[in-house]
C-alpha cells in the first residue's frame, strides 16, 4: 500500500512518454507543413530565405496551368469510376453469390494492391505502346493496321490506376456487403420481390454509403497519385498536378513557390475529401451496418456462377498476371518484342542489374532504410496507438489527428515541405539517407497507426486493467501483457512499413541525394534513361525482395495466430 500523502500529481512515465510522442509527431508532421505553406505564400526574391514578401501571387499564377488541373480531374474521375466498377462488381460477386473458388479469389483480390502502379505502368506501357506494344504487334501480325490500343495516354494512366485501386475499392465495398444483415434482403424476397428488384431497392441503398465512402477515398488517392502519371504521361508531356509539381521542382531554374502553391491546393482538396470520407464512415454507415458479423446469404446463380468466376479471374488476369508475365517476358529479351527469335533470349538484364554499382547501392540503401523505418516506425507507432487509444492523457485526440494528417497529403508534396524544413536546419542530413528515414517515418504514420490500432481496438481493455490491478506499473504491463498480445499487429506493422518503404517513390524521388539513391527512383530513372528490358529486370528484382518479405509476414502471423489466438 502506498502511503497517501498530499502531494502534487507526480509526473508518471506515461505522461513523459505521451509528451515526447506528441513532440515527435508535431515536429515530423507540422514542421514540414509550415514550410510548405511559407513557400506557397512566398512572392519575394526566389533566391532569398526567409521570404522577403508574402502574398497570394503563386495561387493566382496557377491560373496559367488550368489545363493541368483539368487533366488531373479528368484522369482521376475516369480512374475512380473504373476502380469503383471493378471493386463493386467483384465485391458483390465474392460476398453475395455462390461463385466457385470464392476463398481463393478473395485472397487473389489483394494481390493487385501489391503489384504497384509502377509495375502496372511499365507493363501496360510495354503491352500498349502504339508502335512497340506487344498487343499492337500481335494485332498487326494478325493483319490489323496501326495501333489497337494506346496506353501511353491519359486513358492509360487512368487504366493502370484503376486496376490498382480496384483492389482497394473491393476491400472497402466488400467489408460493407459482408457486414450487412442478410435478413434485410430476405425480408424483401419473402414479400415477393424479385431478385433484381431486391438488389436495386434493398441491397444497393444499403451499401450506398459504403460505396460513396470508397468513391471519395479512391478519388482522393487518385488526385495525389504520381507514379503512373509520371511513367505514362511524361513521354507525351501530359501533366497532372503531382507530376507538374515534380517538374517545377526538378527543372532548372526550379519554380519552388509555384510548386508549393500547387501542393497546398492539392492538399487542401484532399483534406476536404478525407474529412467528408471520415464523416461518412463514422455517421451513416453505422446505422445500416452494425458491428456484428453476419454470415451473408449467397445467391444461387446456377450456370451464371462460372461467368461471374470469369469476371473476377479476368480482373486478376489484367491487374496481376498480365503485367507480371509481360515484365518477365521483356526482362528475358535483349530487345523486347512480341515474337522473339531464339537468339533474342538473354539473362544479361538480370546480370546487369545485379552487378551495376548504382543498382546495388540503391537496393542496399532501400533495404537498410526499410529495416530502419519498420523497426523505429513500429516502436513509434505502437506507442502512439497506445497513448491515443488506451491512455487517459489529455490531448490524445489531437495527437491522433496530427498523426493521421499525412494521409491527406500526397507524399511528393510532403517531401517538398520536408526538403525546405530540413535545409534550414544546421544538421547535415539533407541529401543523406537520414532525411529519407525521417520522411518515411512521417508519411507512413497513418499506415502504421491504422495497422496497429486495428489489432489494439480488438484487444479487450480489461486484459491490461487486470495487470494493473495486480500492481504492475505501466512499463511492466506493456512488456508482459500488451506487447505479447499485440504481436500479430506489430508484426504486420513492421512488414507493411518495410514493404512500403522499399517501394516508396513520391517522397524518395525528391529527397534522395546523389550519394543516397534508393531503388524505386533508380528504377524510374532507368526507365527514362536506359532500356525497358533492364528496367523490367530491376523492377522484378525489387518485387522478389518485397515478396520474400511478404512470405515471412504470412508465416509469422500464422505462427502468432496459432497457439495464442483462441
Amino acid at each position: 500500500m502506498a502511503i497517501a500523502r498530499p502531494s502534487l500529481p507526480r509526473i508518471s512515465a506515461q505522461t513523459i512518454a505521451g509528451m515526447a510522442l506528441a513532440a515527435i509527431v508535431g515536429v515530423l508532421v507540422l514542421y514540414p507543413i509550415f514550410f510548405l505553406l511559407q513557400a506557397a505564400l512566398d512572392v519575394g526574391d526566389p533566391d532569398v530565405r526567409p521570404p522577403t514578401a508574402y502574398g497570394l501571387g503563386n495561387f493566382v499564377a496557377m491560373g496559367h496551368y488550368a489545363g493541368i488541373l483539368g487533366n488531373t480531374v479528368a484522369v482521376s474521375l475516369a480512374a475512380t469510376v473504373m476502380a469503383i466498377v471493378f471493386g463493386f462488381v467483384t465485391a458483390w460477386i465474392l460476398s453475395r453469390t455462390d461463385v466457385p473458388f470464392r476463398r481463393t479469389l478473395e485472397q487473389l483480390m489483394a494481390v493487385p494492391y501489391y503489384v504497384t502502379p509502377l509495375l502496372g505502368a511499365f507493363a501496360w506501357s510495354m503491352l500498349g505502346a502504339p508502335e512497340s506494344g506487344f498487343i499492337n504487334q500481335v494485332w498487326r501480325a494478325m493483319g490489323g493496321h496501326g495501333a489497337l490500343i494506346d496506353m501511353v495516354t491519359p486513358f492509360g494512366i487512368a487504366w493502370v490506376m484503376a486496376l490498382f485501386e480496384g483492389s482497394v475499392a473491393f476491400f472497402m465495398i466488400g467489408a460493407v456487403m459482408k457486414s450487412m444483415d442478410p435478413s434485410l434482403e430476405e425480408a424483401s424476397q419473402v414479400i415477393g420481390a424479385s431478385r433484381l428488384r431486391t438488389m436495386l431497392r434493398v441491397t444497393l441503398p444499403l451499401v450506398a454509403p459504403g460505396v460513396l465512402g470508397a468513391t471519395i477515398y479512391v478519388f482522393a488517392e487518385m488526385l495525389g497519385s504520381f507514379t503512373a502519371a509520371l511513367v505514362l504521361g511524361l513521354p507525351n508531356r501530359f501533366y497532372v498536378v503531382t507530376t507538374a509539381i515534380y517538374q517545377l521542382v526538378s527543372q532548372y531554374p526550379p519554380r519552388l513557390p509555384l510548386a508549393a502553391a500547387m501542393g497546398v491546393s492539392l492538399f487542401a482538396i484532399m483534406f476536404v475529401m478525407m474529412f467528408f470520407y471520415r464523416r461518412l464512415v463514422t455517421s451513416r454507415s453505422f446505422v445500416t451496418v452494425t458491428g456484428k458479423a453476419f454470415r451473408p446469404r449467397r445467391m444461387d446463380m446456377g450456370g451464371w456462377r462460372w461467368v461471374l468466376f470469369g469476371i473476377c479471374a479476368f480482373y486478376v488476369l489484367l491487374s496481376v498476371v498480365l503485367p507480371l508475365v509481360t515484365l518477365v517476358y521483356a526482362s528475358l529479351q535483349q530487345i523486347a518484342v512480341a515474337f522473339p527469335t531464339a537468339a533474342n533470349w538473354t539473362l544479361a538484364n538480370y546480370r546487369g542489374a545485379l552487378t551495376m554499382n548504382a543498382v546495388r547501392s540503391a537496393l542496399t540503401n532501400s533495404l537498410l532504410l526499410g529495416i530502419a523505418t519498420a523497426t523505429i516506425g513500429t516502436a513509434l507507432m505502437g506507442m502512439l496507438c497506445w497513448i491515443v487509444y488506451r491512455s487517459r492523457l489529455p490531448g490524445r485526440g489531437i495527437i491522433e489527428y496530427v498523426a493521421m494528417f499525412p494521409q491527406a497529403v500526397p507524399r511528393l508534396v510532403f517531401a517538398f515541405g520536408m526538403m525546405w524544413a530540413w535545409l534550414v536546419i544546421p544538421l547535415p542530413i539533407y541529401g543523406t539517407i537520414w532525411i529519407l528515414l525521417i520522411a518515411y517515418l512521417t508519411v507512413f504514420l497513418p499506415l502504421g497507426m491504422r495497422t496497429v490500432s486495428g489489432v489494439m481496438l480488438q484487444l479487450d481493455k480489461t486484459l491490461e486493467e487486470s495487470a494493473q490491478m495486480c500492481g504492475a506499473s505501466w512499463i511492466y504491463r506493456l512488456r508482459t501483457v500488451t506487447m505479447p498480445l499485440l504481436r500479430p499487429g506489430l508484426v504486420a506493422c513492421w512488414l507493411l512499413l518495410f514493404i512500403a518503404s522499399v517501394r516508396e517513390l513520391g517522397a524518395s524521388i525528391l529527397l534522395m541525394g546523389p550519394h543516397s539513391k534508393v531503388i524505386t527512383p533508380a528504377i524510374v530513372e532507368s526507365w527514362f534513361a536506359t532500356s525497358s528490358e533492364l528496367t523490367a529486370a530491376m523492377a522484378l528484382i525489387q518485387t522478389v525482395v518485397v515478396a520474400a518479405a511478404m512470405a515471412i509476414f504470412v508465416m509469422l502471423t500464422r505462427q502468432a495466430a496459432g497457439p495464442g489466438g483462441d
Binding site: M1, A4, L8, S12, T462, L463, Q468, M469, C470, G471
Partner: protein, 375 residues
C-alpha cells in the same frame, strides 16, 4: 447483522473502505451523482442496480481505473482519491485486486503464470511464488491445471483462475465486477456459493457489483441499491427485501404490488396505519417508522399475498377477488386477480389448477404491507 464472518487471523488484514460524495462525470453526462457508502473490514458489500445505474463506474473509480470528478475514497484509512486534496493514487498502487466480468485471463500465458503475475510484480522469491500460486489454485480447485495454457480453459475454469489470480498476492480488498454474468445459470448458482464461502474463509473486505438480485441477496452482508447514479437504499439483504424504501427498490428487488390510497387515521390500530384505495378497499400496513407522504403507498410482495378459495380466518386485509388470469411458471404459479378497479399479482406454489373467472379470496399480513417513504 447475523452473518458476520467468523473471526480468523486472516481477518486482521481486512481494511475498511469509505466513499464520500463520489461524482463521476463524462462531459455533460453525470454517471455517478454524489454517492457515499462505507464497507466495514471483512464485509462483503454489493452494489446492485440495473444496467447504466453507475455501479460498475463506481467500482472502477474505487479501483482507480476511472477518474472521478470529485469526492473522496479511502481504503484502510488512507486517502487514495481526493479531489479536494488533489490526490489520485494510480490503480496499481492502491493494493486492491479485481475480478473482471470478462475474466481477463491472459491467453498467452499458462494458468500458473496468470496466477503468479501479482507475486512476480512484487518480486517475491521463487519458492514463495510457487507455494502461493499452488495454494491459490487449490483454493479454487484448479490445482491440477497449473501447466495448462489459459486459452484452453472453459469459461467457468477461466473464472476460477481469475479468482485465484486476484487472491494470490493477498490483497487488502477484492473487487468483483459482475464476475458470474458470463456463466450459465447452473454454474452461476454453484459459483455463488463457492465465492461466498471463499470470501468468508479469507475474511477479506470485498465490493461486488451485480444486476442479479438473487446473487446480491445470497452473497452480501450489505447491499447498496443504485439507480441513475444515485444510491436508492442501503442495508442488509433482509432490510432491502422486507422494507424497500421506495417504489423502485420494491420493484427491482423482487416483484411487488404497489397499492396507493388515502390515509384513514380513524382505522389505524396497534402501530399499524390504514389506507383506503380509490375503489374503497381498506388496507392495513406497517409504517416502518416512516411518515406517509402526499400519496401514501404500500408495497406488498407478490409472494406475501395469500390466495384461497374459501374465506380465510381474520378480520383485516381480507378481500374477495375474481381470478383474471393464471400463468403456470414451474416453481410457482402467477395469479392475476381483479381487486377493486385494478389487478393484483400473486405468486404462490399452487397445488391445483385455478380456473379463470373463479371467485376467491386473498389476504395479506399487515406486517408485510410496507409503507414506502414519501417523496
Amino acid at each position: 447483522m447475523d452473518s458476520q464472518p467468523t473471526t480468523s487471523p486472516l481477518t486482521l488484514k481486512a481494511e475498511p473502505i469509505e466513499v464520500e460524495d463520489l461524482r463521476i462525470q463524462y462531459g455533460p453526462v453525470i454517471a455517478v451523482r454524489d454517492v457515499s457508502f462505507a464497507v466495514r473490514p471483512g464485509e462483503q458489500l454489493t452494489l446492485l442496480g440495473p444496467s447504466g445505474c453507475g455501479k460498475t463506474t463506481t467500482l472502477r473509480a474505487l479501483a482507480g481505473l476511472e477518474r472521478p470528478s470529485s469526492g473522496t475514497i479511502r481504503v484502510g484509512g488512507h486517502v487514495v482519491y481526493s479531489s479536494a486534496q488533489r490526490i489520485d493514487i494510480p490503480a496499481e498502487k492502491r493494493g486492491l485486486s479485481m475480478v473482471f466480468q470478462s475474466y481477463a485471463i491472459w491467453p498467452h500465458m499458462t494458468v500458473f503464470d496468470n496466477v503468479a503475475y501479482g507475486l512476480r510484480v512484487r518480486k517475491r522469491p521463487r519458492a514463495e511464488i510457487e507455494t502461493r500460486v499452488q495454494e491459490a489454485l487449490d483454493l479454487v480447485q484448479m490445482g491440477a491445471y497449473a501447466a495448462r495454457r489459459a486459452s484452453q480453459l472453459s469459461g467457468g475454469q477461466q473464472q476460477r483462475v481469475a479468482l485465484a489470480r486476484a487472491c494470490a498476492f493477498s490483497p487488502q480488498v477484492l473487487l468483483f465486477d459482475e464476475p458470474l454474468s458470463n456463466l450459465d445459470a447452473k454454474l452461476r448458482a454453484d459459483m455463488r456459493i463457492e465465492l461466498r464461502e471463499l470470501q468468508h474463509r479469507l475474511g477479506v473486505t470485498s465490493v461486488y457489483v451485480t444486476h442479479d438480485l438473487e446473487e446480491a441477496l445470497a452473497m452480501s452482508d450489505r447491499i447498496v441499491v443504485m439507480r441513475d447514479g444515485v444510491v436508492e437504499q442501503a442495508g442488509t439483504p433482509t432490510e432491502i427485501y422486507a422494507r424497500p424504501r421506495n417504489a423502485f427498490v420494491a420493484d427491482f428487488v423482487g416483484s411487488s404490488n404497489l397499492v396507493q390510497g388515502r390515509l384513514r387515521p380513524d382505522l389505524a390500530r396497534g402501530g399499524l396505519i390504514a389506507l383506503e384505495t380509490a375503489s374503497g378497499e381498506i388496507v392495513l400496513g406497517d409504517p416502518c417508522g416512516r411518515t406517509p407522504g402526499a400519496t401514501p403507498t404500500f408495497s406488498i410482495r407478490t409472494v406475501h399475498l395469500q390466495f384461497s378459495a374459501q374465506r380465510p380466518a381474520g378480520e383485516v386485509n381480507v378481500w374477495p377477488v375474481r381470478v383474471h388470469r393464471c400463468v403456470f411458471q414451474g416453481d410457482f404459479t402467477q395469479i392475476h386477480v381483479a381487486w377493486g378497479d385494478r389487478d393484483l399479482v400473486i405468486r404462490s406454489a399452487a397445488l391445483e389448477p385455478i380456473a379463470e373467472g373463479q371467485a376467491a379470496w386473498i389476504s395479506a399480513d399487515p406486517a408485510r404491507c410496507v409503507l414506502l417513504e414519501g417523496e
